[in-house]
Amino acid sequence: MSNATIISKTAVELSRSLSEKELSSQEVAQAYLEQIDRVDPQVHAFLHRDDDDFLAQANASDKRRAEGNTLGPLDGIPVAIKDVISVQGQPLTAASKILENYISPYDATVIRKLKDAGAVIGGRLNLDEFAMGSSTENSAYGPTRNPWDFDRVPGGSSGGSSAAVASREAPLTLGSDTGGSIRQPASLCGVVGVKPTYGMVSRYGLAAFASSLDQIGPFSQTVEDAALLLETISGHDPLDSTSFPTEVPQYSAALRDPLTPCTLGLPKEFFGEGIDDEVRKAIDETIEFYKSLGHKIVEISLPTTDLAVPVYYVIATAEASSNLARYDGIRYTSRSEQSENAINVYAKSRGEGFGEEVKRRCILGAYGLSSGYYDAYYLKAQKTRTLIREDFSRVFKEVDVILTPTAPTPAFKFGEKSNDPISMYLSDIFTISTNLAGLPALSVPCGFTNSGLPIGMQLIGQAFEESSLLSIAHAYDREHRFGCQSPNI
């Protein structure tokens, strides 16, 4: 089988080929390494690779298979990792200079689960520094390019994770989503990305950005692949006290059940001004498709929609300013050579080690929490967050899922928004409210613009109802499979 054929396969197809002995995990690993060698000098999805370790894991998988001890459908399948998730013995930079030399001393829970499932853990993927951004332009190690148009951003913050799947450098990747950091880059790169319900996937071993909003989730070509990866990494973890004690359904089995007619809600506030015409057209066609399957479409209202972005930036920056205090120039970060005493070692190390956006957000967060401003900003935002949650609760009495565009526009050009924080923040306008409400949501590719840029639709589900969310998404995806189209690179 040619390398081009191997890397075009979905994870489910690769898994089948491995179990039918048409392929070895070694051949799969080799094919991806060659593709990374070929395209990554331009795409720049990877910050670090350890090819020997990668091939050794593939070898171990082949050995298990030969002995009849295969660990499951992911055994022998490569999964590349956003560089904020700890893999023992590997670097974790969070795309920041301050963690330039950091090596993880332990595995994140999601990594332990993947290893238990036999997955072949791949390289470290680029992102906006500490997952703060929507374009991957904030990486201290240079941006990732969108595989569909190298002049455009891949989205962010998990831009390396989305670009790696789109450019067939990995069949599966993990990212993290605090305000849209999985779904927006999935949309801009034409792949599937899932943000699970808050508490569904352990955050142990994830470099924290905003702890009440962060979730780890999968990227893939198809919804079927995402379901397989998600069911592997989900589940209660005593090492994360916010992890929710609930059973994890077999999502991939649920996809095979016939889908009963359901109700999809279109929030009128998401379909106002500011949506690109081609995005709107693609979403309209998606709506028509769901109607043709016999599902009901209703208009709904989420009146707090325009409050989500300000609420998010108050809460996320406050949590970030607190979480990032650990990068202190003392214990496990780089230290400024200019530091003279025990006080300015912090300020100088952080001043040198953090990039602009991270500094901006830590300062904004410290301000919102500071004496005299706490009530006006942080407390007010937390109360408004309650109103946003209540909006969703009310709407979910009428509908099963909510359908929206994932992002208002296709991928934008480098530099287009990087000097205007608010315009960058607004590129997450459709994804942010679900993090505030803790709900599961995903982005599925639903077409291309005339110039060949991918477009994504977002489906938002009820808390802990990933099964129905994935099933409804799969009903569209299996007939269209836009994520299986690959860019000409």
């Binding site: 001393p105 409050l307 930036y313 205090a325 202190d328 500071s370 937390q382 109360k383 505030l436």
Partner: protein, 99 residues
């Protein structure tokens, strides 16, 4: 500074709270940009949240206890492997007290 000031943030004071040293250029750039962001946050002032409880977590959990069991901790070597300066299994820090 008054409540109505469009940019009430004292950037030197807050960057010190955040323990981040800024260059002169950053200070000027941020003052302008964060002023815009704070202006954008003004939207929140109009929201009526009378009697609304704040949300800290979407699905709050309380009293999450761990079994009181001894576990194998990191070795000293693992614990300090990432420290920027270490000596004799200890992290070296800048001098805290005067001679």
């Amino acid at each position: 500074m008054s409540e109505s000031d469009p940019n009430p943030m004292d950037i030197d004071y807050v960057s010190n709270l955040a323990r981040i040293e800024l260059t002169k250029e950053e200070r000027e750039k941020f003052h302008h940009q964060l002023g815009d962001v704070l202006q954008y946050f003004e939207k929140l002032k109009e929201v009526d949240v009378d009697g609304v409880e704040p949300t800290a977590h979407a699905f709050p959990r309380f009293n999450v206890w761990d079994e009181d069991q001894a576990k194998e901790p990191f070795s000293v070597k693992q614990a300090i492997q990432n420290a920027p300066q270490s000596r004799n299994s200890q992290i070296v820090v800048p001098k805290v007290v005067e001679d």
